[in-house]
Each structure stands twice: as C-alpha cells, then as structure tokens.
C-alpha cells in the first residue's frame, strides 16, 4: 500500500491485545464510577490503541515536549478510553483511573488539558477539534516545528457546523500534517445517525472540502496502521480516515445500541461484559 514494510504480525497482535485491555479498563471505570459513555468509548478503543501505543510521537516523561505530536479527542465523551490509554502509556499511575470523577481527581467527566497529564486539549462540546488542530499546525509552520496533529471525531459530531469551518480552513492551508480519524459507529445519543440527521454521503463531503479520504474497518488493527501510514505521507491535503466501527464494540449487548451511549452496566451486565472481553485476552 505504501511501499513500506508491512507491520509485523507481532505488533498487530500487541496492539489488538492493548485495545482489548483498554476496553476492559474502560468498562471497569464506567462501572465503578457509575457514569460514563461506554458505546463510543468501546468503538474508539482500537483507534486509540494504535495511536497511543504506536503512532504518536509522545513522551510520557515529558508530556509538554514542544515537538510532540498533538492529540485531540474531539469526541471528548470517549475519555474513558483516553484515560486508560494515557495511564497504560505511563502518563499517570493506573490507580488514578479508580478515582475518575471524584472531586480533586485529575480525571474529569470530559478531558481537561489543565488537569490531566497527556491531554493536549480540553474537549467535551463537539465540533472543536479540527479548528484547534488547524491552529496548532499553522502555529507549527510559523515556529518551524514539525509535529503532526491527530484528531478523533465522532460521526454525530460531523453534524456540528463549526466542524466544517475547520475542515474548510484545513483545506485552504493544505494542512497535510492534520490527521483526523472519524469513529463512524453509526449511532448517536438519540438513535441511529441516519435517522437523527443523516451525514451521508460523508466521504464526498470531506473530499469537497479538499481532504484526502481513507476508509477502513476501524476494528481491524492492520487496516488502522496502514491508513495511518498513508495519512502521514499525505503531501498537500489533510487526511480523514473514515473508520467504520460498531458502537459498543466488544460487549455483545451494547453493540449498535444507542441506549448504551451514556448508560452504565448493572452488576449482571458488568459480569457479562467482563466475561466477553476477557474471553479474548
């Protein structure tokens, strides 16, 4: 696909295992806290595993490193996956995950750049990430820095008009170091995306805004890694990777269900979820 050596089966397996671990972590976190957004956190787990454990140029010992790649979880409600990834990557101790949401904890209900090591930007209200990433990359041009900026957006998020202001801007300035992954799990809070506010034809929308578009299975680690490789090689356009995913992926009774956008499993449901997720480890 890129002329590069294919990713080793071992790397792919390691990242797949990490993604499963993140799913276990986040369900435990949401169950313990009795709050959170399991559906969209599960759908993004493979993408975040690939980013945090392979793709991003980051240093947990130096979270403010000037030349680090920036990452914005624009769909901030999936922060349980982000927090688990940051902890497992070494940005803060694993025990911190247990205090998520308590007063005084560095982990907020949505990402907070001022409180959480490794969080480059506060998010939670949808539609901001691409504009902010564009500013970060234009700043890099002014300053002569070569970092990339990765943004993970939701599919419902594409309904927010301000997102397209950023898409147009990134197209204007040919921000080839802007890599957006759209977690296309087809379901939002109130129901199916196609019923609430259809976004199709979404590929053509991005193309019309002068983006290069890749489409992958967002639960296939090999495809994720290859798409990220291709995005890095983009020359004069920002890239969006449309990652087709399943909301609630990995927990059978959550899959594809809008009910599980922001619902917490009860004791029995938690047990089933753990059994299913751990069966694959």
């Amino acid at each position: 696909m890129t002329g590069k050596v294919a990713h080793s089966p071992q790397l792919v397996k390691e990242l797949e295992d990490l993604a499963r671990q993140l799913r276990i972590d986040l369900i435990e976190m949401i169950y313990r806290r009795k709050s959170g957004h399991p559906g969209g956190s599960l759908s993004a787990a493979d993408i975040l595993a690939a980013l945090f454990f392979h793709q991003l140029r980051i240093d947990p010992m130096n979270p403010d490193w000037e030349s680090r790649d920036r990452f914005i979880l624009s769909k901030g409600h999936a922060c349980s996956t982000l927090y688990a990834a940051l902890a497992r990557r070494g940005f803060f101790p694993m025990e911190t995950l247990q205090a998520w949401g308590q007063i005084g904890c560095c982990l907020q209900g949505h990402p907070d750049r001022l409180k959480t090591p490794g969080v480059d930007m506060t998010s939670g209200c949808l539609g901001h990430g691409i504009n902010i990433a564009a500013g970060l990359l234009l700043a890099a041009q002014v300053r002569g820095l070569d970092y990339r900026t990765y943004v993970v957006i939701g599919d419902g998020e594409v309904q927010a008009g301000v997102l397209w202001e950023g898409a147009m801007l990134a197209g204007k300035y040919k921000l080839n170091k802007l890599i957006t992954v759209m977690d296309y799990n087809k379901v939002q809070l109130d129901g199916k995306v196609e019923d609430i506010m259809p976004i199709e034809p979404v590929r053509q929308k991005w193309e019309a805004f002068n983006w290069s578009v890749l489409e992958i299975n967002g639960h296939n680690m090999k495809e994720i890694l290859e798409a990220l490789d291709r995005a890095v090689e983009a020359k004069d356009k920002p890239t969006v990777i449309i990652a087709h995913t399943v909301k609630g992926k990995g927990v059978s009774y959550m899959e594809g269900k809008s009910d599980w956008h922001g619902k917490v499993p009860n004791d029995d449901e938690f047990k089933v979820a753990m059994e299913e997720l751990k069966a694959h480890v």
Binding site: M121, H128, G135, L138, V142, R143, E165, G166, L169
Partner: protein
C-alpha cells in the same frame, strides 16, 4: 470638547508595530481585516496573518490552536458577531485557559449605521461572566495602543473592546495603563462617576456641568472591567458616598453591575447606572446621537449624579 482620532486604525497600526518586537504575535480575522484595520499587519506579516472567512466560531477555536502551539493570537471580528462564538470562548478559551486575545471591534453602538445586528450591547456581560477572562474597555486611542504589549505579555484569555468611531482623546503619551487598575482622572468628593470606553469623555463633560452647579464630581477611568479594581471603587464610595457608572452597554451585567457587586458587599452607597436599558437599539445616522437617544447623554449622567446625591447619607 476633546480632539478625536481613529482608535481602530491606531490600534491596528500599533499591532503591526508591536509585531516587530514580539514574533509570537499572530492575527486572525473573519473577513473583516479591512474594517478592523488589520490590513497593515497582513501586508507586513503575511505569514503571521490568517483570514478564516466568515467563521467566527471556527476562528476562536483556531486561535486556541495557535495559543496551544505557543503563539499569541489576536482574533479580530465585530464585537456583535462574537456572540456566535460564545461556546467556543467559554469552553476552549476561558475554561481551557488558553492564551487567546479576542478583539471585539465595532463595539457598543459605534457601528450605528448597520443597526442592532451590528451593535454589541452585551459583550462585556457575556465575557465578564466567564472565569479566567480579563475584560478590557480602553477609553481612548492612547489606551488602546498601550494595552497591546500588556495583554500580549500577560498569559491568559483577554477580551478587548475596540470602537469603530473616532474616539475623544483623553490621555497623552505619559498615561500609564495597568491591567486591573483604574485611575482617578478628575478629583472631587461630592460624587464619583466611573466610566470607560466612549463614556469616559462624557463623564468628564458631565463633571464640567456639575462643577458649574457647584458639585465636585470625581471621575474614575476603569478600562479593566475584570479583574476589577475593587480597592479604588471602595475608596471612592467611602470618600464620595455616591456612585454613577457610565458604560456603552446594557446596564445588565456590565461595568455598572460589576461595580455594584463590589459595593453591595463592601460599601453600600447609592448607585445609579448609565447605559442602555434592557432594550435593543436601532439604526442611526451617527454614533453620538444614538448614544444620546439610548440614555447615555451627558445630561443623563448629570441627572443621575444629582439623583444619587439626594440619597447620600
């Protein structure tokens, strides 16, 4: 009467001049570069100038990105249009405490000719309500020019209100402006008139009229609405026993409210607020007439001063 000069042009040119000494400054605009006089900056520093088109909300987020990237972005548009970026300002500037400088130009009623869609009568209230936000309403072109290095070197979100109109020139080159501080610009002990922006010259004119009646009005310039110079406000209340606030803004939530919030806790004295009543304004042929028509005339300030003095202990 005061000499007038073109505040927005002086502000725009001063940005360009300051950019020479501070390479971190970048300027963003939403298709109003020529209106807000950012063209000199754009011509001199094209690599540091970004026009995002008619996308005010996106512009604020993009400015946030610049700030996260270590630069000092000044995001310019019409103050009246910034309200469409309120959520961006709340979440990504104020809450995330990013180093973004927001310039609301054509502020107050200074875009008299384009009507209420282009008047900004609640921007100070909205900005002031946001934690972490510094709110500045410079009172003439000298202050507008002198705040540029101050806000650039200050780390944190700032909102700056700039008028479209030629403003009366109050201060000379020796004027010192400090963030968070007001100044007594005219001494007096019978009543205090606290003003900023266009209303400072009117407060001074009102003080002249009151002097003719034997009333010695103190006039205070308060260009920083937040953080507020509480000590100065309380001192004036203690010494003059009555306060009139003067702002080119709705009386809900702006300078008057800020002053009253301090006084009601620290030193309750009679207060009256000059500003726009809780109404939308209308189109006019000039700025001054419109301000007069909506309760901000010099005579209105005089009447308010007389009123609060009647209630003095």
């Amino acid at each position: 009467m005061f000499k007038r000069d073109n505040t927005r042009k002086i502000f725009g040119d001063a940005m360009t001049a300051y950019a020479a000494v501070n390479p971190k400054v970048v300027v963003l605009t939403a298709d109003v570069a020529s209106s807000v006089m950012a063209t000199s900056f754009a011509q001199k520093y094209p690599e540091r100038f970004f026009n995002v088109g008619i996308a005010e909300a996106g512009m604020i987020d993009t400015a946030v990105g610049f700030a996260l990237g270590g630069l000092v972005p000044f995001a310019n548009t019409f103050a009246g249009l910034l309200s469409r970026a309120t959520e961006q300002i709340r979440t990504c500037v104020a809450y995330a405490n990013t180093n973004v400088k927001i310039v609301g130009s054509f502020a107050g009623l200074s875009n008299f000719k384009d009507g209420p869609t282009h008047h900004s009568i609640m921007d100070v209230a909205i900005m002031r309500a946001m934690p972490n936000m510094t709110v500045l309403v410079p009172s003439d072109s000298v202050e507008a020019r002198k705040i540029i290095p101050l806000v650039s070197e200050y780390e944190g979100p700032v909102y700056i209100r700039i008028s479209r109109s030629e403003m009366p020139v109050i201060f000379d080159e020796s004027h010192k402006i400090e963030l968070g501080k007001g100044q007594v610009v005219r001494e007096g002990n019978d009543v205090t008139l606290i003003a900023n922006g266009h209303m400072l010259s009117r407060a001074l004119e009102a003080a002249d009229k009151l002097a003719a009646q034997g009333v010695k009005a103190r006039v205070v310039n308060l260009p920083t609405v937040k953080p507020l110079d509480k000590d100065l406000i309380v001192k004036c209340a203690e010494e003059t026993k009555a306060i009139v606030t003067c702002e080119e803004h709705t009386v809900i939530g702006g300078l008057g409210s800020a002053v009253a919030e301090v006084l009601v806790r620290e030193c309750p004295v009679p207060v009256d607020m000059i500003g726009i009543a809780d109404v939308f304004t209308e189109t006019a042929l000039d700025h001054d007439t419109l301000m007069d028509a909506y309760g901000m005339s010099v005579d209105e300030i005089v009447r308010s001063a007389q009123k609060v003095m009647l209630k003095q202990d």
